[in-house]
């Protein structure tokens, strides 16, 4: 019998689609269309002149090459470091297991600016990295800030969580009987790992690699802060061409190039994932069911090494940043910088920096509401709308994910600054950009939960006398309530830390925390630096607390 979800009537589908479609039309399609027009419409006709000149420019070609190179290197490093961590976390019990798991997975929700600032602090020659390297280099250790190495480190820091989530998730769910069967058939541990486990997790490994590649390919904040002048990616270059050189057509041509490359990559990755998928029995086992205590000396030293690396690599940058925000000169503990945030003396912003916190909270709150409303209605259409709509909606809603935040921000300033829609000075621009960036995540959280509500439940409500609207209210909303809370938490955290789009749109009176941090760092002086540290620490704390609230949410077991 059909176990599909109840279908919405055509009328309700249309009504529900209006919200996401108009939102995407105004804040996504219109800006992107403007970018395309800007890049391809030249001398009153459509042509590829600007694109050709961009691709012919040796500097810009270097940027494109660097974008690929750093993404490939970041991905390889992330897998090389992330896979062992994921494997050890999934298969071994050891002290601090929960803490390490949290430590390596939490960076995913951290704002890019916070990660970048943390590494800036860590990599100072007079900082911990300098201290460590000083042992080898002698008196004057190299300054790693502004190097490819810094970018790679921050990317690994960020994306190991992706590998641990995707690969570790699969490792937890693999049917233990398969590995047991190999053991009974005479395979030793190494053979089991290379001949059974590795091939089985290969699809997850590939899909994690592709996700990491896409993320690092479109990485903005990390490269802007840590890359230094010679190391510019497409994203950074789009920003530079727009904000510094005011060369909008070139920025548009770069945006278009990036859009095409991301589209090709995403298509390849989807094909790859379908091709690589191995039909395998997954037991929806609880995490940790396969964990055992390391027994041999070799196992123990590997696990111990992993614990130390994790603590050092994932713990040190954030700790260094927080400590730095509490330090002034030789005073190790002072709240001086935090106090200064409240004073009007930070001239760079023209007002006290703490206002940025208030701005950020307001923007994030509005963005969260918008993202949840748009994402919720879109999810209903994706799960219950007419068959043909579903696929289109799914693709449409994922598009903003592939289009980088920088493109979104750039599109806003070129697309929404003239009639029919002049929103250039509107307060709403920032929350709308943030909502656009977080809506795909909201959809990804809600769709599976909504899809898992069986049609029988609806039918049971109907035969008991509940109208469709009443069923929505009495059955669906309570069932997805927690997922909505989870999605809202994600959206809030993402909006708080959103940088790539906001940096284009923010004005002096609408500065958000990440933008304020960037401006403070751009100026000399211990006070500006200290305040940047303090703001970063506050942003990290805000993100952590919103995720902490969210982590208390347990998704319901929908199938009864």
């Amino acid at each position: 019998m059909d176990k599909h979800n109840v279908a919405l009537s055509l009328k309700s589908s249309i009504l529900l689609s209006i919200i996401p479609i108009s939102f995407l039309a105004i804040f996504f399609i219109l800006p992107v269309a403007n970018i395309i027009a800007l890049g391809l419409h030249h001398d009153n006709q459509w042509n590829l002149n600007i694109l050709q000149s961009v691709w012919g420019d040796s500097y810009l070609r270097q940027v494109i090459w660097f974008t690929f190179a750093q993404a490939i290197a970041s991905t390889a490093l992330t897998i090389a470091i992330g896979f062992p961590i994921a494997y050890l976390l999934a298969r071994y019990k050891f002290p601090l297991h929960g803490f390490i798991n949290g430590l390596v997975t939490v960076p995913f929700v951290l704002p890019t600016v916070v990660v970048a600032v943390a590494f800036l602090v860590l990599l100072r020659p007079d900082g911990w990295a300098g201290g460590l390297l000083g042992g080898w280099w002698g008196a004057s250790p190299p300054d790693l800030r502004g190097t490819l190495a810094a970018v790679l480190m921050a990317h690994v820091f960020y994306n190991v969580s992706v590998v641990v989530r995707i690969v570790g998730g699969l490792l937890d769910q693999l049917d233990p009987a398969i590995e047991d069967a190999a053991a009974v058939l005479g395979a030793n541990k190494w053979n089991i790992f290379t001949k059974v486990t590795l091939p089985l997790v290969r699809p997850a490994l590939i899909s994690a690699a592709l996700v990491v590649f896409l993320f690092t390919f479109t990485s903005f904040g990390v490269v802007l802060f840590l890359g230094g002048p010679g190391n510019s990616t497409l994203e950074v270059e789009i920003h530079r061409q727009t904000a510094l050189l005011l060369n909008l057509p070139v920025a548009a041509a770069l945006s278009i190039s990036q859009l095409v490359m991301v589209a090709v990559l995403a298509t390849i990755s989807l094909k790859q994932q379908r091709g690589a998928a191995v039909e395998q029995p997954l037991v929806g086992g609880r995490a940790g069911a396969r964990q055992r205590v390391a027994s041999t000396i070799g196992e123990r030293s590997v696990v111990l090494g992993m614990i130390l690396v994790s603590l050092g690599f994932f713990g040190a940058p954030l700790l260094a940043m927080v400590l730095r925000s509490l330090r002034s000169g030789s005073t190790v503990f002072t709240l001086e910088w935090y106090r200064r945030l409240f004073g009007p003396s930070s001239t760079v912003l023209g007002r006290s920096a703490i206002e940025a916190v208030w701005n950020s909270l307001q923007f994030a709150a509005v963005a969260t509401v918008v993202a949840v409303v748009v994402g919720l209605s879109a999810s209903f259409v994706i799960v219950r709308g007419p068959e043909i709509w579903r696929r289109w909606f799914e693709v449409l809603l994922l598009l903003p994910l592939g289009v980088s935040a920088v493109t979104v921000g750039f599109g806003f300033i070129v697309g929404l600054d003239e009639p029919p829609l002049n929103l250039r000075n509107s307060w709403w621009l920032i929350p709308m950009a943030q909502a656009l960036v977080s809506t795909p995540f909201v959809v990804r959280v809600l769709v599976p939960v909504l899809a898992s509500i069986e049609s029988r439940i609806h039918e049971a409500a109907a035969v008991l006398g509940a109208s469709p609207l009443r069923t929505l209210w009495e059955v669906d909303l309570p069932l997805i309530g927690r997922a909505v809370g989870l999605a809202a938490g994600f959206a809030f955290a993402m909006s708080l830390g959103e940088f790539g789009a906001t940096v284009f749109i923010a004005r002096a009176d609408t500065v958000t925390v990440p933008v304020a941090i960037m401006r403070l760092l751009g100026l000399p002086g211990a006070s500006n630096y200290g305040q940047a540290m303090a703001l970063s620490s506050i942003l990290m704390a805000l993100t952590f607390s919103s995720m902490l609230v969210v982590s208390k949410i347990r998704l319901p077991q929908v199938s009864a």
């Binding site: 439940i457 049971a460 109907a462 035969v463 509940a466 309570p478």
Partner: protein, 357 residues
């Protein structure tokens, strides 16, 4: 008259699933619908409940035409195969759901909830979360939830098929008690002929979306209209016979008179099939001769406790080209046959039907 379905047809994705089905259910009557998987049983129930649209036909409930009503206005109770309890609500809230939809006030709701919970033997389970219930308890809650709003008609879609036999039989007895007490009409669809035979006041055989035959369970057991219907309703022996006159036929065991054997007059054809249930035979071990007796060899025995089903290979004439005929025969205790032993059989009076091939 609680429910009347007239020439109901249902199409799904352009394919005819139900074709011109008519059924009546009186107050307090249980109609069992028996059919193989894919025969359209569930779709028929869903159409009556308004969960799939009708292509044709009318549905009357207590004299009102409800064919065009959405399911939430039809006032029928439905028990799903997978119970479909609301996972986010406890037992009390599940049961009161329909009552709230009917706008019953809180004090009355409370009373009714207690009443139905007592009825299904779950008194005091009110505040239990659904997830903490066993399979049988969930089905009881689903039953309580379905009957709480006092529906005119209860539709049961193999509600106990996921439960073990003992529990299923006990729940069925409880369910019948509840239906009798509340004088509720009921349609019970199942693919299990034993369940269908014992549960229905009337039995309807459905196949490929059409009603093949309807009648009392005994009627369908003893007098199926065709071999196909007979096989759906239960184990059946078919024996090729040739009617040579109104008095005599040639069976594999020889020429014999037949009118006294028939439960229903035979059709007017020569080459026919005799349909005999395993309980249509008298047995004799050791073998015996005489009018109407014939012999065979026991080739298989299935001992079932209260009885045994024995397969007997009939002796065929030397040189006969036909396949040897095996008959499934009911043997009641004391069991005396053994594998390989010779056995004599005789058809009981008014125990078989003859159909055209």
């Amino acid at each position: 008259m609680s429910l009347r379905v007239e020439e109901l047809s249902v199409e799904l994705a352009g394919k005819s699933i139900i074709h011109q089905v008519s059924i009546e259910v009186n107050d307090g009557e249980i109609v069992a619908v028996l059919g193989p998987s894919g025969s359209g049983k569930t779709t028929m129930l869903r159409a009556i409940a308004g969960l799939v649209p009708l292509a044709q036909g009318r549905i009357w409930s207590n004299g009102h035409d409800i064919s065009n009503q959405p399911s939430f206005r039809r006032g029928v109770g439905y028990m799903f195969q997978e119970h479909a309890l609301f996972p986010h609500r406890n037992v009390a809230e599940n049961i009161e759901f329909g009552l709230r939809m009917a706008k019953m006030r809180k004090p009355e709701r409370l009373g009714r909830r207690r009443e139905v919970l007592e009825l299904v033997g779950l008194g005091g389970f009110d505040q239990r979360p659904v997830a903490s219930l066993s399979g049988g308890e969930r089905q009881r809650v689903a039953l309580a939830r379905a009957i709480a709003p006092k529906p005119a008609l209860l539709l049961l879609d193999e509600p106990f098929s996921s439960l073990d036999r003992a529990l299923r039989e006990r729940l069925w007895e409880d369910l019948v008690d509840v239906l009798v007490q509340t004088n509720t009409g009921c349609i019970h669809v199942t693919h299990d002929h034993v369940e269908a035979l014992r549960s229905g006041d009337r039995l309807v055989v459905l196949s490929e979306g059409e009603i093949l035959q309807a009648g009392s369970p005994l009627e369908l057991w003893r007098m199926p209209n065709s071999e196909a219907i007979g096989r759906i309703v239960g184990p059946l022996n078919t024996v090729p016979v040739e009617l040579i006159s109104s008095a005599a036929m040639v069976a594999p065991w020889g020429r014999t008179s037949y009118q006294h054997l028939l439960a229903r007059p035979a059709p007017n054809t020569n080459s026919s099939k005799l349909l005999a249930r395993p309980d249509a035979f008298e047995i004799s071990v050791p073998t015996t001769g005489g009018q109407g007796w014939f012999e065979g060899t026991v080739i298989r025995r299935n001992f079932m406790g209260t009885h045994a089903l024995v397969e007997v290979a009939l002796d065929t004439d030397a040189g006969a080209s036909d396949e040897p005929i095996g008959l499934l025969v009911l043997e009641t205790t004391p069991s005396f046959s053994e594998l390989g032993s010779r056995i004599s059989l005789k058809l009981k009076d008014r125990s078989v039907v003859i159909t055209a091939t």
